[in-house]
Structure formats: structure tokens, C-alpha cells
């Protein structure tokens, strides 16, 4: 499953997508994100599955443009170098902007 967390408002698209089939539940993104955007949650999409998944915290998903701002190109980062993208070994995290 592709989980898109974030929003679109008048100023643009701000989504972090997590491929839950790739996510191995390691929690590295939770540790590496300087803004504390991620959390590990129970997989509510599959009641047969007991593993945890990475997700974007609900309050953070409403202000991603601001929360992720310090890591974005204006601050000298390339998308592939974002702390969360780099931390994710299975390559499950992507940003829309």
C-alpha cells in the first residue's frame, strides 16, 4: 500500500508517501528525522498483521511544508539526501516536493 501523508493547500502539494509493503518497521526514520515527523504505528489496514509500520504523525501531516522546511532545497538539501529518505534502507519513503 502507498500511504500518502500530507496535504494540498493553496500554496502547493506537500506529501510524504510511505510504501507500506517496503517498510520493514525498523523505525530508523523516527530516529533520524530532526523534526520528529514520523512515528511507529500498529497496522490498522490489515487486522491479520501484527507488525508495526512507519507513519507520519497526524498533527505533523497538517504542517509538513513547515516541519520539513529546514531539510528542503532552500536549506541546501537534495531530495535523495533528506535525512528520512537516507535513513530508510528499504527505500520506502518519498517526498512530493
Amino acid at each position: 500500500m502507498i500511504a500518502n501523508y500530507g496535504y494540498k493547500d493553496g500554496s502547493g502539494d506537500f506529501f510524504i508517501s510511505i510504501d507500506t509493503d517496503k517498510c520493514d518497521g525498523c523505525g530508523d526514520c523516527v530516529e533520524q528525522c530532526p523534526a520528529g515527523v514520523f512515528e511507529m504505528v500498529e497496522n490498522e489496514f490489515d487486522i491479520e498483521d501484527d507488525d508495526e509500520l512507519a507513519a507520519v504523525k497526524p498533527d505533523q501531516s497538517r504542517k509538513l511544508k513547515y516541519a520539513c522546511g529546514p531539510c528542503k532545497p532552500a536549506a541546501g538539501f537534495e531530495k535523495a539526501e533528506l535525512p528520512c529518505v537516507r535513513a530508510c534502507e528499504p527505500d520506502a519513503i518519498d517526498h512530493s516536493w
Binding site: 493547500d9 500554496s11 504542517k63 529546514p70
Partner: protein
């Protein structure tokens, strides 16, 4: 040399007449249905204050969202360019300009010569602009002029979850039901917008001195929240409504 700067904002039209680098006249009128007409009115008032007639003015430069509207303009300049130029004239030691207008918020980094190095804009979303505080003041039935002061009487910080002005209104209604004191709600609202503005400023990087301009700079409650959030001192533009218009008049002088 005599020049004029016109700032056609979403809410007000501001005109400044600059005579040899000094403000000779200025006027602000509400942007009505017809922006071109409002600009004419403001221009006439500013000229009257300066004791001048249109023929005395060598060049008119317009800026702001409606910069293409005034029929009497000779040229236009971007809002970012006008802000930077105006701030440099008023406060030459400022390196970071924060301009919060009714419908737009901007953070601009300028160099020692007043040139724009980098900028970030928050537009098309009321949550990061003055319209947010206006909507909230209306929801709380507090006049906008008193809304800022009210915030200073707050005794506790309460978080606001909504990032949208419309949702924030519903949240405020819930807080009212819970009998939250008005000053605390006012502060929560100012803290929320200050938080968004700070993130925007961090994107361009904070370099001192930092100045605040735009209509929202007159709101003491917001200024306090922003100061606390930025953890640094803040220069408040001497006449925050007119920074853009002054900048536009300077641009007219330069060319």
C-alpha cells in the same frame, strides 16, 4: 527628485511621495471594488499632503498584488523587491525582512547593499497571513485593534491544532464552549501564526537584524509571539503599512 510609490495590497492601497529621499506625503485607503479607483484616491490624497500636483512627480512605480491596476503608474516592481528596497532605506542594518500582509507572508534575506539574496513566500492560504488573525478576531467578536493587546493578558499557553483558518474557527468555538479565557485563545492564535511564520523564516535562514513589516506588525500580540518563537530581537518597521510603497518610490528614484 520627486517620485511616487504605490502599494496595491489585498486590503489597502498605500501611496508614498518621496522628495529627495524623504517622505513628503503619504496616504492609505481601503482597496474597494475598483482597485484602480482606490489607487487614484490614495494618490490624490498623498499629493495633497505633499502640496504637489501629478505633474511634479517624475516617476511612479507600483507594487503589491494589484500593481498592474493604477493607470498613472510608469513601472512596476515585485513585492519582494519593494520590501527589500524600502526596508534598506528605513533600517540599513537589517538583513532579514519579514512582511506579513493581509493575504500573503514573505521572508526576505537581503545583503548589506539591500539586494535580495533569497526569499520565501506564503500565499494563497490564509493560515500564514493577516487574514488568519482577522478571521479569528471576528470569530471571537473582538475588534482587530484590540485583539493583539488581549493576547498580552494571557496567563497560559494552549495549543491550536488546526492549520487552516476555517478549521481554526471551529476549534475556537470548541474552546469557547470549554470556557477558555479570551486572552488565552488570542495568544493561542498568535502563537499558531507565529509558529508558521518562524518556519518560513528558517527556510531562508535567520540573519540579524530581523525586521517585521506589513499591517500585522502593528499587532502587539503577534509581535510578542513571534519574538518568543524566533528567540531573538525584532526591529519593527517605523511605519509598517508603508514599507512597500516607500520601496517602490525608491525604485522609481533609482531608475
Amino acid at each position: 527628485m520627486i517620485t511616487a510609490g504605490v502599494d496595491c495590497g489585498a486590503k489597502n492601497v498605500k501611496v508614498v511621495i518621496l522628495k529627495n529621499g524623504e517622505v513628503a506625503g503619504k496616504a492609505m485607503v481601503q482597496a474597494g471594488m475598483d482597485a484602480a479607483e482606490s489607487a487614484e484616491t490614495a494618490y490624490a490624497a498623498a499629493l495633497k499632503e505633499a502640496g504637489l500636483v501629478p505633474e511634479d512627480v517624475q516617476k511612479v512605480v507600483a507594487t503589491g498584488a494589484g500593481k498592474n491596476e493604477p493607470g498613472f503608474k510608469d513601472d512596476t516592481v515585485t513585492e519582494v523587491g519593494a520590501d527589500a528596497r524600502g526596508m534598506h532605506l528605513l533600517h540599513p542594518d537589517v538583513r532579514t525582512v519579514i512582511d506579513i500582509g493581509c493575504e500573503e507572508g514573505r521572508a526576505i534575506k537581503i545583503d548589506a547593499a539591500g539586494k535580495v539574496v533569497d526569499f520565501a513566500i506564503n500565499e494563497k492560504c490564509a493560515a500564514g497571513a493577516g487574514a488568519f488573525t482577522e478571521a479569528m478576531a471576528r470569530a471571537l467578536e473582538v475588534p482587530l485593534e484590540e485583539f493583539g493587546k488581549l493576547s498580552l493578558e494571557s496567563t497560559q499557553a494552549i495549543p491550536m491544532n488546526a492549520q487552516c483558518a476555517v478549521f481554526a474557527e471551529s476549534e475556537v468555538v470548541t474552546l469557547v464552549h470549554r470556557k477558555t479565557p479570551k486572552p488565552d485563545m488570542a495568544r493561542a492564535i498568535h502563537d499558531a501564526i507565529a509558529d508558521r511564520i518562524t518556519s518560513m523564516v528558517r527556510r531562508v535562514g535567520i540573519e540579524e537584524k530581523i525586521a517585521l513589516t506589513g499591517g500585522v506588525a502593528k499587532n502587539v500580540g503577534f509581535v510578542k509571539s513571534l519574538r518568543e518563537d524566533l528567540e531573538t530581537d525584532l526591529v519593527i518597521a517605523s511605519d509598517p503599512d508603508f514599507t512597500g510603497a516607500i520601496g517602490a518610490a525608491c525604485v522609481a528614484t533609482d531608475s
